[in-house]
Each structure stands twice: as structure tokens, then as C-alpha cells.
Symmetry: C2
Subunit: 490 residues, 2 copies
């Protein structure tokens, strides 16, 4: 039997009404105010026609109004389909169609794409800026939440190149929040600075923790290390989520030692170097390195600060409610230090993709990532699934980019890999086999802009006579990576 | 679908093997050592014949060996039936028979009762002291726990006078621990002093929190305020569970202000006076007053320190995962400040009593307690169910004592109430109607000793010509309480 809990946002307002909930620029709301404002928006959205059974696209930036609309969805029980706002209209259309979304909540800055989507999909578009003039119908509030109900949908690609909608239930978010607390504790006046996008699980999970823990969020609409350092002291921030490039820039900009109330940086999307961790420690910045993905509703394996030097390179141990195994191609569990595929299970793991068959095997999710567990139980991730490229915290799936490239005129074959880059950690580069027709690096890049978000577009295109493949026809990307490395050393 | 988690004790040893788990007198164990020792005992108990499906009585004191045996049960998945060690053999026999227990784990100090039980019930008795000489069979370890599996059975009486076995699942204990953390936080180096009995939910729940949180326990084998104050500093205790009489004695014995790392007293079993709370505050002792029962797997409603003076007398608000309503006799939910029966629901609430029909109504547990919720959402408990008497933290059910009294020769009718008493908060006193045969206060008390635990035996017996009853024949206990009060004032 799935558990039923009181509606999180309403319950939080009941329990700690006067506690500060969120700070965004000059605005500050308590949990009571947060709830009341979200409730009002739930009424506006109800008048707009949104019901509990609806899937509603969100094409928005990270600001207070977005937070209020996201919580409004939870009050009525509608499901938010969170679009990465850097995607092209074509990519968004695919996701909204797949999710059978009938509404889109957006803002004026995205009007161009919104108009395209409205035209193509016959979707009802609601602008956040419009709430002042909107009519209102008392919303039908969900008093209770069954933990297996869907809360959010976030798209992620895999080996196929076609994005799939990860269903994150209220329970997934709840258990993720519990796993985090059991690992890192929960302090009085906990304050989490959110400068990662709300449409990512890294950002959205902070919203959920806020209402579950009764914790203050300091919300930023983008990444600016100077503003972050300012608020760190001004708002007495205790925790912050970062990717490596953010951590690097914050550490460099920090002129003084971090205050003692700052507890830790939760680092995702690829490990940091010993050198960076050491610099952080010297400035009083504790770092929890973590491994997770959209399907695990944020971190599932986390390395504690006390192990961050001794176990550098490791992602840590599974959070308490979760489990972790390494398996071979036959699905057999491997022993200590044996390399294989990482599989995970736990109540924070998504039970499935939208409109897809159950992908779990006996409750286990096969990540596609390769790694091993050492004799002390620490996980080391050697290779991200599907040769995932992480560029500035954004996931780029080679298969998705390759699919776009091979559809272009003049290209017979394509292979995409990530190469190290100072600012973003990694950037994608492409190897293409021309079919004899005219085609240039520039024309390929321009063509990509129609179908791919900017961060997915190859930064370089190399023309090759063939793409290296193994016996079963799979691209051998490590040969390409080796080649790029050699070029550098020349 | 019920959630499946890794076996708590094993998982904790994997996650934080070297963290200190428990301190008992001169002994100290890390989580790895705790697990290994419990695992060894699981092997001994396996050799003794105990399997996962067995219900095993525990007639024990609070010491390290008891803790190890209780965790051994969880390793093999057997269910512990926790007997209050102050009960008479007759009371214990009832509970063990009702639970269909085939094994009893006990210690030499309880040999007299154990022998009686062995003879009467044909139960296999295992002495904790015997593990040195016992044979060992590798235990079949439960790697995972489904949260709806039974973990412990604790008996509690109700209006009927016959004790019922409350089934507490792993999930009940888990969610109770989560509710506590979301209310009170979870700190690094959290240390909980346990001087309440392990056979009560107040004590047992500390064991569960320890392995779920990875938190150190300082275990005492009884209540001694001087030893408590010694360990408070020596072991840097952050939290402690108390009943009012314990709090009173600790506060009086404390010669200096409590250290700042001490976080709070979790107070159960009846509220404290403003005067006591004020004295506590002056000594730096924060108090969380809470309301709960065996059926809710410890606290379900808790008052935070920031409200402890302003809302004195209130039990606080429901813990996050739980819900709370006041209903009238028709089961209709009442509004603010309206007095009625308290009903609760949540994943920490027991799903049922052993061998009894489901007692929940649409998932709600009707506590039998009377109270109201004020305009801010705070609960006030006016009357404990079945006129429950709480004497030094132990529950005494008038109906149970009355049933014993009316079975005695010479007594026609009996009524039992609690009266205020300095040391224990309350003690039971009886009113009896003689049937004409010889019977004295002394003989009644002596007779009670055969059937009732000491704390349940009436401290005074008053002979009356009749017991006050209302139209439906129910005893009007408030008339008796009033009479006792008037005697005092004479």
C-alpha cells in the first residue's frame, strides 16, 4: 500500500507558518505567504482550465513567480512537464507532444517559442505575467497526496537519442529529501541557495526539500559568483548545489574564508580535482560530491566531506534508503573492485518513463554507467552512460546529436564525443563522414541550431573517412577521444 | 506498493562503520561492531531454533546485551514481543499466549517468572547470559526489509481491560524517525541518552532512530539523575527522552546551566507545569512536549520549544507525515476549539493489533482521547482515553485494574481513578463496593500483587456503598476525582 501524506505545501504552511520560506531579490515570503500566493495561482490556473489530471508544460526561468506556479500545480495535483528553456522549439514540441500536454505555462521572454508551440500543437498558453488580469475559480485542493502519484516529468535522453519523460512521483521527491537528510543532517535555520535551474532535478529538488524540511531557499535567477558570495553572508546560507565549474568560480572569487554556519556544497555532474577540493578546504568550503540523475530524483550516491580527500574520485556510498550494485552483462552481481554496469534501486528511483513499458528489472534501474565498488563500499564511476557529455551541468547525449547530424544532407555517418574544456568542463565535438555532397563545418553548425539547444551543438566538426566501430557496430568513442588528445600534444 | 529498504542495522554498518553507535557503562561500540555482535547473536538464536516467522518474547532489562539481541532479531527478521518486566507472570503469560510466542529471551534476574512461564506455556527459554556456551549456525540474514513487515509487538490495554498486541512495522518505526527529524532536525554527532525502558516505545524508538540516523546512544539501565548529568557532559548528549517526574528530578539536581550542545528533552506521558518549564529554560534546558502512544510508534504530536511557554498545556502540532482531527460521536470533523475525540493517521500509526480485526476507519486511528485544536492548529489534550492513569511514565488502565478487583472474593463492584502524587505524577486508587463478605484494604492490595504489576496496584482502597454511574451504566470517574480532591481540602 502506498503511503498517503498531507499535501506537502499546505502542511508546511500549517506547521511553520511564520518561518521564512524563500528569498528572491527584494522579495521575502514566509511559508504561509508562499502557500497563500500559490493557492491564489491555483485558482487562476483552475479558471484557465487546468485540472488535476492535466500535464502542463513549463517553459520558464528561475524566479519567484515560477516557484509559485509550480507549487500551485501541487495544490491542485496537476503534473508539471519541465522544459529545459535552452531547447529549440522543435525539441520542446517533441516533449510536449510525448507528454500529451494540453497547457503551457510560460513568460513573455519565451514568447517566440511559445507562439510556435501554440501554433504547432494547439496547446493553451498561459503567461506568468498575466495573473493580474486573470479570472479566478476556487481551486479543488488536494488535501492529501498518495506518494505514488506523479508530481513532475523531466525529459532525458538515452542510447536511442529520443528523449524520454521521467515520471517523478511525490514519493520519489520525498524519499530523495529523506536520503539527503539522513546523510547530511538537518539544521535549525537551514538555508539552501539555489542557482541551478528549476527545470533540472538539481533545482527542483531544492523546492521539494524546502517544503518538506521547512527550509529557507535563496533563489537566484542565474549563476553569478559575486551575487552568490554576497548572499552567502547576507542570508546566512548553509547549503548550496553546484556543478564543478560553478564551484571553481565561487572558490576563485571568494576573498575570505567561508563562515562557519555554511555547511556544504552539494556537488553534482562530474567530480572535482584534488587540487580544487584542497583549495575549497583551505577556504572552509566543505564539499559533498554526489552521483545521481533525473531517474533517481537527484543524488543517490554521495561522498561525505570527511572522505573527500581520502576517497577522491569516488562518488561515495548510496543514500540510506537506496541500494547499489555492480553487474556484468549477464546481470550477475560483481564483487569488490570488479568493473561493470551500475544498477540502483530505492524509493527515490522513478518507476518509469511516460508512455513506456516498465524499464526496471525486479525494481532495479540499470543506469548504463560503468563503475566499481571498492572494499570499503565506495562507488567509483568510470564512464557515464551512453558516453554522456556533461557541459556546464547540462547533459548532452551523443546519440541525440548524432541523430540530428546524420539526418543532414551531405552526412553519411556521425560520431559525437565530449572533450575537456576549461569553462564548461566538457563540450561536444563531432566526427562526420561526408557522402560526397557539399557540406562544411560552418553549415553543419548552422543546421544544428534549428534542432538542438546551444549547449548540444558541436564546437568543432572533423571530417573523417570512417567512424571507428567495434564488431557489433557500436562506435568506439574512446578511439576518438584518444585522437583528440593526441592532437593537443602535437 | 510498500517500499523495500536495505536492512537498517546492516545498512548503517555499511554506511558509517566507524561511527560510535552505543555507550553502555564502560563499553563502547561502533556501528560495525554493533552489527557484528548482533550478527553473532543472530547465529546463536538461529541455532536455538528461532526463525524469521517466529514471535519471540523479551523479558529483559535495558542493557547492551538486550540491544544486541533486539538487533539480532532484525537481522533474521523475527518479531520481538516486548514484555514490560514489571508485569506479573500471569500478565506476561496472557501476552505471550496471545502473541503465540514460542520463544522467550530473558536473563537470570527474571528466572523465577521465566520458569513459571516455561512450565505454563511450554515455551523455549533462552538466557542472555548463555551466549558464551551456545552453539552457532550461520543466520539467514534479511538483506532487505519491506516496510509493512512486523518488527515489534507491544501490549497496551484499552477500555476492555484486556491488553492487545500493537503491531509496529519497520515502516511505522521508520516514519516515526522521519517525523521526529523533520520537526527537530538532525545534527552531526547527535547523541541520545536513553534512560527509559527499551520495552516501551519511548525507549525502543531510540534504538530505531540510532540505526536510521547513524546516531550515538548513551544507554542507562535505569533512571538516576546524577548519572544522567554526569554523562550529559561526559558524552556530549544532545537529546534525551523523559517523563515529567524525570525532568523534575534532573532539573533539581542540575547545579549548572546545560551545555549549549544539548538540544532538547523530548517529554512524553503528560504535560509539565509552566513553573517547571520556566525553571528548565532558566537552566538552558529546551523541552519538546509530545503526545503519542504505543499505537503511533511514539510521538505523533509535538510542541516545539519556541512555543513551549506561549502554548503551555498544548501538545503541539502533528509531525509532518501525520494528520490530526477532532471528531464528534458521529465521526464528523469538528472545527476550531470544539472539543471531541482525537483521531490520527499517518504512516507511523500501527495498522492493527495482533489477531484482531482492523481497527482503523479509513486509515484513521481513534485514540479515545479527548481534546481540541485551537485557531493556530495546536492540539490540547483534555482527557486521556479510558481515563488512562500515567504513573511515572507507565500506563495504568482503570478497566484492567477494575477487572482484577471485581474477580476477588468479597467485592461486588470496583472503580479505579488516578490521583495526583508528587513522585509519580499520578497513582491509582480504588473504590470498592463490598458484597458483605470479609475484605480489607490490606487483603485487596495483597491479592492484587498476584495479578498486577506493582505500579498498577491501587495505593488506597476506599469502601463505598455504590459506584457513581451515568444513565448508560458507565462509571462517572470525575465524581470520584472530585471527592478525593475534597478530602484533601478538609
Amino acid at each position: 500500500m502506498t503511503e498517503v501524506l498531507p499535501n506537502f505545501i499546505k502542511n508546511r504552511a500549517l506547521l511553520t507558518p511564520d518561518r521564512e520560506a524563500i528569498v528572491y531579490k527584494k522579495e521575502r515570503l514566509t511559508f504561509k505567504e508562499l502557500y497563500e500566493k500559490a493557492y491564489y495561482r491555483a485558482g487562476i490556473l483552475t479558471a484557465f482550465g487546468i485540472k488535476d489530471t492535466d500535464y502542463v508544460g513549463f517553459l520558464v526561468k528561475s524566479d519567484l513567480e515560477t516557484v509559485l506556479h509550480l507549487f500551485a500545480m501541487q495544490i491542485i495535483g496537476a503534473k508539471a512537464v519541465l522544459l529545459n528553456n535552452r531547447l529549440t522549439a522543435k525539441e520542446m514540441a517533441f516533449q510536449l507532444t510525448d507528454a500529451n500536454a494540453t497547457f503551457l505555462i510560460t513568460e513573455e521572454d519565451f514568447q517566440e517559442n511559445a507562439l510556435l508551440l501554440k501554433k504547432e500543437l494547439e496547446i493553451s498558453v498561459f503567461y506568468k505575467e498575466g495573473i493580474e488580469d486573470s479570472s479566478y475559480i476556487e481551486p479543488i485542493e488536494k488535501e492529501q497526496l498518495a506518494l505514488d502519484e506523479a508530481c513532475t516529468i523531466m525529459y532525458t535522453s538515452g542510447t536511442t537519442g529520443l528523449p524520454k519523460g521521467v515520471i517523478q512521483s511525490y514519493g520519489n521527491h520525498w524519499w530523495s529529501a529523506m536520503g539527503n537528510t539522513l546523510n547530511a543532517g538537518l539544521y535549525e535555520k537551514e538555508t539552501w541557495l539555489c542557482a541551478v535551474p528549476l527545470f533540472h532535478i538539481s533545482g527542483f529538488s531544492i523546492l521539494m526539500r524546502s517544503i518538506i524540511y521547512g527550509m529557507k531557499i535563496v533563489l537566484h535567477d542565474g549563476f553569478n559568483e559575486h551575487k552568490i558570495l554576497h548572499d552567502l553572508w547576507e542570508e546566512r546560507v548553509t547549503i548550496m548545489s553546484v556543478v564543478t565549474t560553478m564551484l571553481e568560480r565561487i572558490e576563485q572569487a571568494a576573498n575570505e574564508r567561508f563562515p562557519t554556519y555554511f555547511r556544504y556544497m552539494l556537488l553534482g555532474g562530474g567530480p572535482a580535482t584534488v587540487e580544487l577540493i584542497t583549495r575549497c578546504i583551505n577556504k572552509g568550503i566543505r564539499v559533498y560530491y554526489s552521483y545521481g540523475m533525473t531517474e533517481t530524483s537527484s543524488q543517490i550516491v554521495t561522498l561525505s566531506p570527511e572522505d573527500s580527500i581520502r576517497k577522491i574520485g569516488s562518488a561515495g556510498k548510496a543514500l540510506f534508503p537506496a541500494q547499489l550494485r555492480i553487474v556484468n552483462d549477464l546481470g550477475e552481481v560483481l564483487g569488490q573492485n570488479e568493473v561493470g554496469e551500475i544498477k540502483v534501486c530505492g524509493p527515490n528511483v522513478s518507476r518509469g518513463y511516460l508512455n513506456k513499458e516498465n524499464h526496471l528489472k525486479d525494481g532495479w534501474f540499470f543506469t548504463g554507467d560503468i563503475g566499481y565498488i571498492d572494499s570499503e563500499g565506495f562507488l567509483y564511476v568510470l564512464d557515464r552512460r551512453s558516453d554522456l557529455i556533461i557541459s556546464g551541468g547540462e547533459n548532452v547525449y551523443p546519440a541525440e546529436v548524432e541523430a540530428v547530424l546524420t539526418e543532414m544532407e551531405g552526412i553519411r555517418e556521425a560520431a559525437v564525443i565530449g572533450v575537456p574544456e576549461e569553462q564548461w568542463g566538457q563540450v561536444p565535438v563531432a566526427f562526420v563522414v561526408a557522402d560526397g555532397r557539399v557540406c562544411s563545418e560552418k553549415s553543419i553548425m548552422e543546421n544544428c541550431e534549428k534542432s538542438l539547444a546551444k549547449y548540444k551543438i558541436p564546437q568543432r566538426v572533423f571530417f573523417v573517412s570512417e567512424v571507428p566501430r567495434n564488431a557489433s557496430g557500436k562506435i568506439v568513442r574512446r578511439d576518438l577521444r584518444k585522437w583528440v588528445e593526441e592532437q593537443k600534444n602535437l
